[in-house]
Symmetry: C2
Subunit: 352 residues, 2 copies
Amino acid sequence: MSSQPRIAIDAMGGDEGVRVMMAGVALARRRHEGLRFTLFGDEARIKSALVNHPNLRAASEIVHAPDVVDAGDKPSVAIRKKTSSMSMAIAAVKAGDCGAAVSSGNTGALMAMAKLALRTMKGVDRPALAAMLPTLGDNDVVMLDLGANTECDARNLVQFAVMGAAYARIALDLERPRVRLMNIGTEEMKGTEEIRDAAAILRAATSLPLSFDGFTEGDKIGRGDVDVIVSDGFSGNVALKTAEGTARFVTDLLRTAFTSSIRSKLGFLISKPAMHLLRHHLDPNNHNGAVFLGLNGVVVKSHGSANDKGVANAVHVAARLLEEDITRRIAADMHGIEGLTAPASRMELPAK
Amino acid sequence: MSSQPRIAIDAMGGDEGVRVMMAGVALARRRHEGLRFTLFGDEARIKSALVNHPNLRAASEIVHAPDVVDAGDKPSVAIRKKTSSMSMAIAAVKAGDCGAAVSSGNTGALMAMAKLALRTMKGVDRPALAAMLPTLGDNDVVMLDLGANTECDARNLVQFAVMGAAYARIALDLERPRVRLMNIGTEEMKGTEEIRDAAAILRAATSLPLSFDGFTEGDKIGRGDVDVIVSDGFSGNVALKTAEGTARFVTDLLRTAFTSSIRSKLGFLISKPAMHLLRHHLDPNNHNGAVFLGLNGVVVKSHGSANDKGVANAVHVAARLLEEDITRRIAADMHGIEGLTAPASRMELPAK
């Protein structure tokens, strides 16, 4: 890696096109003056989009990528597109030319490529997908895994807890993040054997830079009393999407209610600032940037429909993790759980 | 069972006490004139609560139950309380004196008792917990399993689909409910092997009175384009609680936003009818009553914090399922999937 941190940008992914990607990266650059970028994609379109962003242009190198991963490409098809902007961005991280990559493209393809090219880091069995969700408290909450692994054993869950805590320490600036395992009740005997075993291991791992607080449930995600929520990728994905869908559902209902009568419409106009505040808090762009944790290199997925502010957020996440060297931090923390397994006595508990 | 349908009521469960239970049952009775009730609990308190409800009193029998299942009782403790109002209500269904039981008490205890006393019906491996959720469409959506089974195989999921469809036919008055399996993507290769196998079986079972429409995701629960959503009890419970928590989260944000300035407060006052409409739609009392499907008898769980309208809803659910003989219907439908298993070819698919 060069002396200055450099981020590989897949300029072609995303529903909104090169222009929004470039506008977003330009926004992020303002927060990270020392950052350099390598922009992968159609050279002519990138150059044209950069006309409005001379500062980004000055901090960037453009590398032409003749191919593009499509939204509908299966991962098995996408990984064979070696000259796609996504492949080349990941390859730049693998080669050490860049410390991190950001893409708004096909999630499954990005996950498969990143895993294949960068490999899982030493001490980690499986990478996980992590993101931030808004809460009613002062801080956001880190949730993982959000879909990289449909089934997880206790060891996977423990590693996710360590990786998620490392992420929270950097992104939320916390010393000892409060970590909980997602479960369907908070009593000790609840949930699957994997979850109970993971809880036993985490309870025993007192030297880790995190505070393990037991279980949490789906209705407490946004309460603000926990910093990291750990689950298998299936229920994490269900929880994330259900939260997104329900927030949209309620705001849709609200819109219908507010247009149901002239009186309601008037009330809406008057309370517009309040509605604006609500929308701001729920705007996914403010939480954009899902991170693949546990790889030899930082890879951030920006939402396909993110606007410039959203893309800037994803790039900011990549920059922070790169500056704070999350990979090294996770590696160090993994020593703290080496050799720890669930106490044998727990195996005697009934399976449900 | 006597000639008139009779429902066993656990008068003691619930945070709101005997008075609210009795008020709710009285409300429900008005919708079901022919219904009779047996009320289990503290005789003096029941009698005192019935003073205001002479019509319910005339339609009811009171059976004194000296013991109560506490909210904190583990199922293993609760099932030993043979003279609790909950135990006695379930026993009345087992004996055939009542066709259904309704309780607002401890869910885990109720589930354990019902399973133990009533046994799983022929053709069903495991009972499931089902409930209705609001949607933006014309109808509510039935979701199951919501927590009775933390891990499920393909056969369980298929049986849940059949039971959920039988419930939707009765409660939503549909001929061929649209059924989907909860997954983390809608493509055929997504999810666990259990889910993909269940999909293959349901796709093959074309004679069933349901329309199997493939997979759905957490963000589409409230969209109104599906009548029954089937999942294992772990992710179903996570989804249900996340939906509840997010709805509360958004309305809490709204409240904060509306009280943030005098202008917002004024807007709130003017748009009160709109907010009232929203609250009405999201009020859990309008969807109260979770059903244990797959037992030899109807058991409905009312939410502990339900008000009289909520309790009335739960009793109404029990009455409808009893009138329409859901147990017999499920038994008939189960014939339609007998002998069906996942095609062997599917086993060759990669596990993730």
